[in-house]
């Protein structure tokens, strides 16, 4: 020990240079650090989308989802495969183990995708991977504002698709730009079925004709006089008349043109969703998706620059108007933590100056703050941790702890400079003072770092949320330790001077505040040391108080991070049409706009371009932009406003309202977990049996005591018009099933017949019957099918047309269909409930072969986390105990210091209770941090007691004397740590809700544990004291 400090002091310039290097490296790292709002808690998911226009969920599942799932089976690190087969869309979510490299995952998925594509029949689309992004990926939503009012929704959509989308996609870090709303332009060939009869044409003939009259070809080259001419033949349609004049048939030399059998016009493609705004109708919306891992703030800056350019290119009067920007959130979150950091630094320095009473020693300690922070930032850069609410929050929390090591050293140096002999050189004093306290400091800081180990082992969302915090705290503490050992003595030597006044006696202070404190403290501690039982009673009383309050605390999951933007998610009836959905949304938006705090509402109905969002038509997501919170009148908080919205929409018939936030929503979707405590999944093949049995299970579970909100997830409710071709009937006409289905597909659904080029823009040429011939079941029954002998037969003579109710979507896990029955548990413990429920299902529900039940839900996650902590916490405590033991070489001392832990707990619990907060993960993190600080103080004190004993003091003397001598450092570290948290405690900014419980626990806990350290510990020391000879090392 001594040698190290000697070395340090001898090479003090080297140390300073190294220190400056670290500061510089830290600053550079800080500049390059990616900035996010929150840590990204999304799992590693690769999404595979397959768009199969017009197919029902059953077909999608059979022809698309299954081959994709089958191809993916057995991929390394694949944890779970979950799929949804929707109307026209198959989504397969492949969940990989945490920490799997996303590019690795995508690569192996990509390889298997080829296999899958081969298994998917033609016409069902090609499976594609979703964007390389995560739940934090949607960084900007915008709509096109047309102030002139002369652009149609189709034109605006073309502007989005061709003028905005492509330039934006070139911005580094943007992985996709998705459009929704308006109409995708199409050149529509609207067939008149009667005209087809008139000219004896079939739909397919028309389709083929269009395809064969819209081509360019190349024909190599010819040589002419030594020059080479490339030959090309141009036959692409270049204007709408070219399409009109395609000859579909010629009879006796008389051509029949396409426009004789069809109307050719520009129209909008079939769509599965749209967007509306403020209850004033439809808008065209774009969503910018960020690449996984890209630096949000950088990408946002680049996008903004690009948007400025694009805005200039856009037609007069059309502008891009952002209605959701993650930037706002990032800025707010950064502001919250930087404010907290700044205020904490200020408060801590204030404490230093007050307690040290001089500028110079305060400066030495204060420098440890930037050093530790920048050291942590270097570590973050290496570990790839972004600057965000949690990681910087960790730094803010650690501010008070960072100074502890240096405080103890500097305080000791200061004290010794005041009391030491003038004969002793300054460097000698610094050396002596440092060495005296170095060992306990190293152990104390190590203990603080070790205390955070359990956080590193948390998995899933909690792990991803709090690991950055644990990292930065540990890193900052490591930095502060380095500072304390290598720089604090050097800087102390450089900056600190002997007092000019005559030296004071031990235990006397020149600082008035400490003189007063000592005057009060000394008699009290003497009283407690003399009457130890009073101390025991005090401690016991506190313990009882904590024990009484503890059961009163509620427990909750991690508090919600407030994002400052509200998403109102509406679920409409599953059978709803897009038009009706739009109508309802419009009314809902009008209502929302009546709330004065709401500035703007933009809603997305269903889905647009496939990528990250793939909601069915009956789901509406309204992004609600709020005016600045200072102007709110209806409610003070976001939660309050959410209640206002809920109230406002409570009597809207036929919709379910769910209020969430943009990032929260995306993350929830990706996690796709069931929100109830318990989810019973019934796996099996037949949808009808699944439905029936799940209803049975629901009834059984409702009977189990403690069941609440029992529900079966609906999978049905989507009406279908089922056209079933009768094989006997088609046989009479010699028609193939395929012939009938081709007509059904093209006539009713429409088919693409090539593309129309407008410069680089390309639009589909789409062939379909005119609306009045395919809109009702009766009209569909009358669609004519051409038999091989040329005669035309109405569809209803070949097939039955029936209205049925089909599945809305089919969900599968591990390639097995399932239905979820979910329930919460009230008034009983979850474990018992599960046991009883399982028994009840076993006894009362008769499941056919191949059907089985799986229990899951949040209780599983809870159990997993509990069992993990149950292993990790004792190990951690054991390690701490070992550390304490190896520091003091005494079980008794170690145990005495351990007593700080329950005392700290009490304060934390009481503080939570007083603040009306619940036990939650951040509160637990607070407890963990608290133990570290509490132990540190104990170590400082007990070390000094031991030293005094060695010097020959009696135990009582040592206790009183030691406690008085160490009053300053103990109070300083406690105050520094507590005041460091104060800004977090009173912050109301974005993200403060997560750190509030943490800060509450630490501040409260420090209060009680400091009382213990200062009053009870000296009193109890007698029983735990070492004998002088024991302390000999």
């Amino acid at each position: 020990m001594k040698k190290i400090i000697q070395f340090v002091l001898q090479n003090r310039f080297l140390m300073v240079v190294l220190g400056i290097l670290i500061l510089g490296a830290g600053y550079l790292s800080y500049k390059k650090l990616p900035i996010d709002a929150f840590p990204d808690v999304s799992p590693v998911v690769v999404q595979v989308f397959t768009v199969s226009e017009g197919y029902s969920p059953e077909e999608i599942e059979k022809y698309v989802t299954f081959p994709v799932e089958a191809a993916m089976s057995g991929l390394p690190k694949l944890k779970l495969v979950r799929s949804t087969s929707n109307f026209g869309l198959s989504i397969v979510n492949l969940y990989f183990e945490d920490n799997t490299d996303i590019y690795f995952a995508r690569q192996i998925v990509g390889e298997r995708l080829k296999e899958a594509s081969e298994q998917i029949p033609e016409g069902f689309g090609t499976p594609q991977m979703g964007p390389i992004t995560s739940g934090m990926g949607l960084i900007m939503y915008y709509y096109l504002d047309d102030s002139t009012g002369k652009y149609s929704l189709t034109e605006l959509r073309s502007i989005q698709d061709w003028l905005i989308r492509y330039p934006l996609q070139t911005v580094p870090g943007v992985t996709e730009v998705l459009g929704i709303g308006g109409w995708v332009k199409q050149y529509q060939t609207v067939l008149d079925p009667n005209a087809l009869i008139r000219y004896n044409l079939s739909v397919n003939e028309v389709l083929d004709r269009i395809r064969s009259n819209n081509l360019n070809v190349g024909a190599q080259y010819i040589v002419k006089n030594g020059e080479q001419f490339t030959i090309r033949s141009v036959g692409l349609t270049s204007k709408i008349d070219d399409i009109k004049n395609i000859v579909v048939k010629a009879v006796d030399g008389i051509p029949i043109y396409l426009n004789q059998v069809a109307e050719i016009k520009v129209g909008g493609a079939v769509r599965y969703g749209t967007a509306t705004r403020n209850g004033t109708g439809e808008v065209v919306v774009g969503q910018i998706v960020k690449l996984f891992g890209a630096n949000s703030s950088q990408v946002i800056r680049d996008i903004e620059n690009k948007l400025d350019q694009i805005n200039e290119m856009l037609p007069e009067g059309v502008t891009i108007h952002a209605y959701y920007e993650q930037k706002t959130l990032v800025e707010a979150a950064v502001k919250t933590v930087t404010n907290a950091l700044e205020e904490a630094i200020f408060l801590v320095i204030l404490i230093l100056i007050i307690f040290l009473g001089a500028f110079r020693p305060s400066l030495v300690v204060a420098i440890s703050i930037p050093f530790s922070v920048l050291f942590a930032i270097i570590g973050m850069k290496f570990l790839g941790i972004s600057a965000n609410l949690m990681s910087f929050g960790g730094l803010a929390i650690a501010i008070g702890m960072m100074v502890d090591g240096s405080v103890v050293i500097v305080e000791n140096v200061d004290r010794m400079l005041h009391s030491a002999d003038t004969s002793e050189s300054r460097i000698q004093i610094v050396l002596r003072a440092t060495v005296e306290v170095l060992r306990p400091i190293i152990f104390a800081v190590l203990i603080i770092i070790v205390v955070f180990v359990p956080l590193f082992t948390l998995e899933g969302v909690a792990g991803k949320t709090f690991r950055p915090l644990a990292y930065t705290i540990s890193l900052a503490m490591a930095g502060s330790l380095l500072f304390a050992v290598f720089l604090a003595p050097v800087l102390a030597y450089f900056f600190m001077r002997r007092p000019k006044k005559a030296k004071l006696k031990d235990g006397e202070h020149q600082i008035w505040i400490l003189r007063i404190m000592l005057k009060i403290y000394n008699p009290i501690v003497t009283y407690f040391v003399k009457k130890r039982y009073a101390a025991v009673v005090l401690a016991t009383l506190l313990l009882i108080l904590g024990g009484l309050i503890y059961p009163r605390l509620g427990s909750e999951f991690t508090p919600r991070l407030m994002e400052g933007t509200i998403v109102v998610r509406l679920t409409l009836a599953p059978s709803i049409s897009l038009d009706e959905g739009t109508r309802i949304t419009d009314i809902v938006e009008k209502r929302l706009m009546q709330i004065p705090e709401i500035k703007e509402v933009v809603s997305r109905i269903g889905r647009g371009e496939v990528g990250s969002d793939a909601e069915p038509i009956n789901v509406v997501e309204s992004i609600v932009q709020l005016i600045p919170s200072s102007e709110w009148t209806s409610a003070k908080t976001q939660v309050g406003l959410e209640d206002v919205i809920r109230e406002k929409l409570s009597d809207v018939p036929g919709i379910a309202v769910n209020i969430t936030q943009p990032i929260q929503l995306r993350v929830d979707e990706l996690l796709s977990g069931v929100r109830a405590q318990i989810a019973i999944k019934l796996f099996g093949d037949d949808l009808d049996i699944l439905k029936k049995k799940s209803d049975e299970i629901m009834r059984v579970i409702e009977q189990v005591p403690g069941a609440a909100d029992v529900q079966v997830n609906q999978i049905g409710g989507a009406p279908q018009l089922l056209i079933k071709v009768n094989r006997h009937k088609i046989a009479r006409y010699g028609i193939n099933i395929e012939d009938v289905q081709d007509v059904i597909k093209t006539a009713i659904g429409g088919s693409e017949a090539g593309q129309f080029f407008e410069g680089v823009k390309r639009f589909d040429i789409f062939v379909r019957f005119a609306k009045q011939f395919r809109s009702t079941p009766d009209q569909i029954k009358n669609v004519l099918v051409k038999a091989p002998n040329g005669i035309l037969v109405p569809l209803s003579q070949l097939a039955s047309v029936r209205e049925i109710v089909g599945p809305r979507q089919i969900t599968r896990e591990y390639s097995q269909r399932f239905i979820t029955i979910q329930t919460n548990v009230v008034g009983t413990d979850v474990g018992t409930f599960v046991k009883k429920g399982q028994q009840a299902i076993k006894n009362k529900v008769n499941l056919p072969a191949g059907y089985y039940v799986e229990w899951g839900g949040q209780f599983k996650l809870q159990q997993a986390a509990n069992s993990r902590l149950a292993v990790v916490m004792p190990i951690t405590l054991f390690i701490i105990f070992i550390l304490l033991f190896s520091n003091f070489n005494s079980f008794k001392n170690a145990l005495l210091i351990f007593l700080n832990v329950p005392m700290a707990l009490i304060g934390g619990i009481v503080a939570l209770w007083l603040a009306g907060l619940n036990l939650s993960v951040p509160a637990s993190v607070g407890f963990i941090a608290l133990f570290g600080i509490a132990l540190l103080n104990g170590i400082v004190l007990v070390t000094y007691f031991n030293q005094l004993i060695k010097e020959g003091y009696s135990i009582d003397e040592a206790s009183i004397q030691g406690a008085s001598m160490r009053l300053r450092p103990v109070l300083m570290t406690a105050f520094a740590a507590a005041l460091g948290m104060i800004p977090l405690l009173f912050s109301t900014g974005i993200g403060s809700e997560v750190q509030k419980p943490l800060a509450t626990v630490v501040v409260g806990g420090l209060f009680t544990s400091t009382i213990l350290t200062l009053l009870v510990l000296p009193a109890l020391y007698k029983w735990f004291a070492i004998k002088p000879q024991e302390s000999e090392l």
């Binding site: 969302v461 009597d651 018939p653 036929g654 909100d709 109405p794 079980f891 008794k892």
Partner: protein
């Protein structure tokens, strides 16, 4: 290790255990997926009185729910047929030269209107070497003229075809499935796609057989054609009014919803809206006859009833996400 140390160790472990217990209870909850919507008690209420929906008058208005009173009505049933215009075969004259000979002179062109007895051409007979006149036997329009001056023409040749196009026929194809619905005497509105011309006539003939190849039968309607719009060969559609039925209760089609694969009408009562299963009868593209389930005078939802249906079904989809 001393005995006392062992005791301390034990105490330490016990304390540690206490600590673990406390922390676990604090941090055992690791999810932020807590549903934000307070689980509404409303849902369970709905289940109990599932079938009644109460909505305030303002909301009814806001959501465009239209309430009407059930009334008797007329339902016109019709069927759309396609076909073409053909000349009336009773008003066609095929003129054949009486004697073979050389065509001397032609007075008319294709498309000319002629009166009965009007001379069309003169032919010099091979037998008598005398010129005779070829006259129109009817009033009409010349459709075909197979003669040129100087041509030697036989006596069995269709030389001229004249048709009176003031009255033509609409020939409509009847598909097998509709055979029984079409009867003589039924009103037909004939129209030509792409034009505004319409003609209302009655079916005077339904062919007693079905074409062996196309398996269609034919219905005919006389078309007055004074203006000459209905040109033979023109493609037409005919809307056959099969029946016009007076029914005690007719509702617009928009009033019918399907619940549990059954047609229902939402009836307004004092308690609220109730989905009333109904039996439907005659239907056309606008109206439906209600045979049972809804009486005249009852108030029902005529438009935007989907809002009511959604509200009833809400409990089944409300909390699935």
């Amino acid at each position: 290790m001393k005995k006392s140390n062992l005791i301390y160790l034990t105490v330490g472990i016990v304390l540690g255990g206490l600590l673990v217990f406390l922390i676990m209870n604090g941090s055992g909850t690791v999810n932020i997926d807590e549903p934000i919507v307070a689980k509404s008690v409303k849902n369970s209420e709905l289940k109990n009185q599932k079938e009644i929906v109460k909505i305030s008058p303002e909301v009814i208005k806001e959501f465009g729910v239209v309430v009407a009173e059930a009334k008797p009505g007329k339902i016109e049933l019709h069927l759309d047929l396609t076909g073409e215009v053909v000349p009336n075969p009773y008003k066609i004259a095929h003129i054949i030269p009486r004697f073979g000979g050389i065509v001397k002179k032609i007075y008319k062109k294709i498309g000319d209107n002629v009166k009965a007895g009007e001379v069309i051409a003169t032919i010099e007979s091979n037998e008598s070497l005398v010129e005779y006149k070829v006259k129109s036997s009817i009033k009409g329009t010349i459709l075909e003229l197979h003669m040129t001056p100087g041509e030697l023409i036989g006596d069995r040749i269709h030389a001229v075809k004249i048709a009176d196009l003031n009255s033509v026929w609409a020939e409509l194809n009847i598909y097998q499935k509709d055979l029984l619905k079409i009867n003589i005497g039924e009103k037909v509105l004939v129209s030509s796609p792409g034009s505004n011309y319409k003609f209302e006539g009655r079916i005077f003939y339904v062919s007693p057989t079905v074409n062996e190849i196309t398996r269609t039968s034919i219905a005919r309607v006389n078309l007055g054609n004074v203006r000459g719009f209905w040109k033979p060969g023109l493609f037409i559609t005919g809307r056959v009014q099969i029946k016009e039925i007076k029914v005690p209760v007719a509702v617009p089609k928009t009033a019918i919803a399907t619940m549990d694969e059954q047609p229902v009408v939402f009836v307004q009562t004092d308690k609220g809206f109730i989905p009333q299963p109904v039996k439907t009868g005659y239907t056309n593209d606008k109206y439906v006859q209600i045979i049972s389930g809804l009486k005249a005078g009852q108030k029902y939802v005529a438009e935007n009833g989907f809002v009511i249906k959604s509200e009833i079904e809400k409990s089944t989809f409300a909390d699935e996400d």
